[in-house]
């Protein structure tokens, strides 16, 4: 998957991935990788947990917006624990520089 991401980024698409095996991601160095220590098959979290899924999407978009080129290939740990977090609504509009209701 890291290789697929590198190939596609090189064609001019901005890419960001969730990774679940940190050692492989560190070797393959996809441009933007976010690590979650969650069970396989649960990249965005638990079934039906909309706030959790939106939080992970928000983290992905925020990384696209904020990560500097100097950090290309670095694996960022999101630090979210499995089933031990409370998820609040996130403000997607703020990622475009607009503030508004979350």
């Amino acid at each position: 998957m890291g290789l697929v991401q590198r190939v596609i980024e090189a064609t001019g698409v901005s890419t960001v991935s969730i990774v679940q095996v940190r050692a492989i991601a560190r070797r393959l160095q996809p441009p933007r990788a976010l690590y979650l220590h969650w069970p396989f098959g649960h990249a965005l979290g638990e079934p039906g947990n909309v706030l959790q899924q939106r939080r992970v999407l928000w983290e992905m978009l925020r990384d696209l917006r904020e990560r500097p080129r100097a950090e290309a290939g670095r694996v960022r740990d999101l630090g979210l624990r499995w089933r031990r977090e409370t998820y609040a609504p996130v403000d997607f509009g703020a990622l475009d520089g607009k503030s508004g209701p979350a």
Binding site: M1, V4, V7, I8, P39, G41, L44, E46, R65, R69
Partner: protein
């Protein structure tokens, strides 16, 4: 196909009966192909003007598309329409517990969540096509030289700005 891809394919076939050896060999082969500078495309648009697509290794496919070869590994992809009813999707993947993903495919292929962002005006549009692979792929040569460029071409054709990748 390059010589390296031909060798990759031959070795992956020979090793198919030995998944652990096969997986280790694939990792070494993959690492060798990740040399050189990390590619970078800066994201400079507003998300409200951007088009988003998803690539997942969750093993999703439409009921009338063929499943994946989980025993030998499978470098092929299935194109998933952006307006698909997620409840119609099938999963062929024996290397992770698929029960939760069947219950709510958004945990790997978050098309309902992204449609909500489009409705809210936080995202410009959802791409017409998204892509699903099955995550066990010892055929690194075919993945890098055929599958990835084919998906990249589809993304370019549909003017995708942002690609989210999710593993299973």
């Amino acid at each position: 196909m390059s010589l390296r891809a031909v060798v990759d394919r031959a070795v992956s076939r020979l090793l198919a009966p030995f998944p652990d050896v096969s997986r280790r060999w694939a990792e070494r082969s993959a690492t060798a192909r990740a040399e050189g500078p990390v590619p970078w495309t800066a994201f400079t648009k507003r998300f409200a003007d951007a088009r988003v697509a998803v690539v997942t290794t969750g093993g999703f496919h439409l009921p009338d598309q063929p499943g994946f070869d989980c025993d030998r590994g499978d470098p092929s992809f299935r194109a998933i329409p952006g307006d698909v009813d997620l409840g119609r999707l099938a999963i062929t993947h024996t290397h992770y517990d698929t029960r939760d993903a069947r219950q709510d495919p958004n945990i790997l292929l978050p098309l309902d969540r992204l449609r909500e962002l489009v409705d809210e005006g936080a995202m410009g549009s959802l791409a017409p096509t998204h892509y699903s692979l099955m995550g066990y792929i010892p055929q690194i040569g075919a993945l890098v030289e055929e599958t990835a460029p084919a998906m990249a071409e589809g993304l370019r054709r549909e003017e995708v700005d942002v690609l989210l990748l999710t593993p299973a």
